[in-house]
């Protein structure tokens, strides 16, 4: 279990910049065996939270318990039951796969027969069995990620933290990685907290936490998050989105939200969408570039909660998603 209570982190300012609050009184509990995705725009505080959770930074205030151990008071005990997969590769490219795994085992006090046994277990799901003697820098990105995960599994962590682990992977490697992760998580009943910008990765999670400005905006199962938006929505692209939105509001009395040049009628209940769409098209044809009925996705939930446009999210993903 990961239990975060009233966590606040304020970065000390410098002479030129004032102190900046990265995490603002955040409380979050992730139950045993739960798979939780943490998402949020750049600067939302999720990277800071991740650093604190893996014990690399000390927060300004608040409490964190990892599997029953106070992370801030007994970092070593809490660390012993944690596995961490970082965004940047934490394996040595100049060493072979086997050498990397062995070194990691020593760091966690594994040796002898126990190590051999764990190694077989940790490699069972991977495609690495024939590549153990190869240097890591000869592996593909997908295989290198498998080494990272296998390395963490060696120590049989009860808690696994992953920071955007699929960054830089092609879509099929990404899918394989996430599928393997889910399978292992279920088999071993690990508690998983993974930060991600990729909403397709969040669909299978037990819960999704969405952060912005250091606070938790939403925390629920993907289904429930979606249900919080209307069941359907009408999405209009327009070059004159601002004036169009004002007219829809005043002339039709409909509730709208605007994200850049996109006007959304997010709270359209089932079955109402088509008549609304027809009405809009009849009245404002000249101003509408495109109009569609959409089932909300997690991305829509994210956009709704954080007020970010799809383009902003895409740009952040392109930039490698680091604040």
């Amino acid at each position: 279990m990961i239990d975060i209570a009233h966590l606040t982190h304020v970065y000390p300012g410098t002479r030129k910049t004032p102190p900046r609050t990265a995490i603002d009184d955040l409380s979050l509990t992730i139950g045993d065996g739960e798979f939780c995705i943490l998402s949020g725009p750049n600067g939302s505080g999720k990277s800071t939270l991740f650093r604190i959770l893996c014990g690399m930074s000390l927060p300004s205030s608040g409490r964190i318990s990892m599997g029953g151990f106070d992370l801030l008071k007994y970092p070593s005990k809490a660390r012993a039951q944690m596995g961490v997969v970082f965004q940047s590769p934490a394996i040595d490219k100049h060493l072979s796969v086997a050498e990397n795994l062995r070194l990691h085992a020593v760091l966690y006090g594994l040796r002898g027969g126990e190590y051999d046994h764990r190694l077989t277990e940790a490699l069972a799901w991977t495609d690495l069995k024939d590549r153990l003697a190869d240097k890591v820098d000869t592996l593909s990105g997908g295989l290198a990620r498998q080494v990272e995960l296998a390395k963490c599994l060696l120590t049989r962590p009860s808690i696994l933290l992953l920071d955007e682990p699929t960054t830089g992977l092609d879509p099929s490697s990404r899918r394989n990685f996430i599928m393997a992760l889910h399978k292992i998580q279920r088999e071993r009943r690990m508690t998983v907290l993974m930060t991600s910008h990729i909403f397709s990765e969040a669909e299978d999670a037990d819960r999704v936490a969405i952060m912005k400005g250091g606070r938790l905006l939403g925390l629920d199962s993907p289904q429930d998050l979606r249900a919080k938006l209307g069941r359907e929505m009408v999405v209009i692209q327009s070059r004159h989105a601002e004036s169009l939105e004002a007219r829809i509001r005043s002339e039709l009395g409909l509730k709208t939200r605007r994200y850049g040049d996109e006007v959304r009628l997010e709270e359209t209940s089932n079955g109402d969408s088509l008549p609304v769409l027809e009405k809009l098209l009849a009245r404002y044809r000249a101003d509408i570039d495109s109009i569609a009925i959409k089932q909300p996705t997690l991305e829509d939930v994210f956009i709704h909660l954080t007020g970010q446009t799809a383009e902003q999210i895409e740009r952040e993903q392109m930039e490698g998603a680091h604040p």
Binding site: T8, H9, V10, Y11, P12, G13, P19, T21, A22, C54, G55, M56, S57, L58, P59, S60, S61, S76, K77, R79, A80, M82, V84, F86, S88, P89, A90, I91, D92, K93, H94, L95, E99, R102, L103, H104, V106, L107, Y108, K151
Partner: protein, 265 residues
């Protein structure tokens, strides 16, 4: 803790061996320095009290010290590389003592320096220097101690650095002068007053004493010589200070501003 430190040191050594350019560079460079400078200055060098010594011979322990300094610099740069590449973070989140992280780097750097200096020791007979078993043991002890001292000093400086170019600056304005003013290049006796002061307070100069005396004394003579014992004590001291300082640096985690010092919002 020792097991972890040795495993980390082993990794350093494997990485060193797997980069042949590094091996060639670190072994060849001091030897070239020694041969070129040593031969070049031979005719003009007359140290007071050491008139019978050629510059090649005078410079010999100094080159050993330089090898250790360079091994330490190279291994310190790998700290910055490890941080950049991401390897370091997985070591930091492991439940290991912070001292073993420091020792891993330091022992790795020491092992690399040892290989070089031991190879270089083969040159001693060609200079007409003879070493008894006892003196050889003292010499090897001095290699280990001084290599560790330098490696720990490099660690201390490299840990907070985020770029290797920043570390190069430290190396040129701080670490290199420590070596230059240790008596490795020229003896302290005839230098101007200000330089004499700098050389006297330079702790690294004592390491050079440990490296030079065994070539001219038996182990018993050295161990009863006040200068040798002082040099040993000072070297142990600065090595220990650098090791502890490094450990403190690794233990330090960046900390959020504590709320009470802020205006409430």
């Amino acid at each position: 803790m020792i097991r972890v430190a040795l495993a980390l040191a082993h990794r350093e050594f494997i990485r060193f061996i797997r980069q042949p350019q590094r091996v060639v560079g670190t072994v060849a460079q001091p030897i070239l320095f020694w041969l070129f400078l040593g031969s070049g200055f031979s005719s003009s060098f007359r140290a007071p009290g050491m008139e019978h010594i050629s510059y090649l011979e005078y410079f010999y322990p100094g080159v050993m010290l330089m090898m250790m300094l360079f091994a330490s610099i190279f291994s310190s740069i790998t700290i910055i590389e490890d941080r950049d590449a991401g390897f370091l973070q997985s070591v930091l989140v492991a439940p290991v003592s912070r001292l073993s992280i420091v020792l891993g780097k330091v022992l790795g750097g020491t092992a690399i320096a040892m290989v070089q200096t031991l190879i270089f020791t083969i040159a001693a007979p060609f200079l007409g220097l003879s070493l008894g078993l006892g003196s050889l043991a003292l010499l090897i002890g001095a290699y280990v101690l001084t290599s560790m001292g330098f490696a720990a000093m490099g660690f201390l400086f490299a840990w907070p650095m985020r770029s290797s170019s920043g570390f190069h600056a430290i190396m040129m304005v701080f670490l290199m002068p420590l070596w230059m003013l240790s008596g490795a290049l020229f003896p302290i006796e005839k230098v101007p007053g200000w330089l004499h002061i700098l050389m006297t307070i330079n702790p690294v100069a004592h390491a050079l004493v440990l490296m030079r005396m065994p070539f001219y004394m038996t182990a018993e003579q050295a161990l009863s010589d006040q200068r040798y014992l002082t040099a040993l004590a000072v070297t142990v001291l600065w090595t220990a200070v650098c090791l502890l300082g490094s450990m403190r640096r690794v233990e330090k985690r960046d900390r959020g501003l504590v709320q009470t010092s802020l205006t409430p919002h």
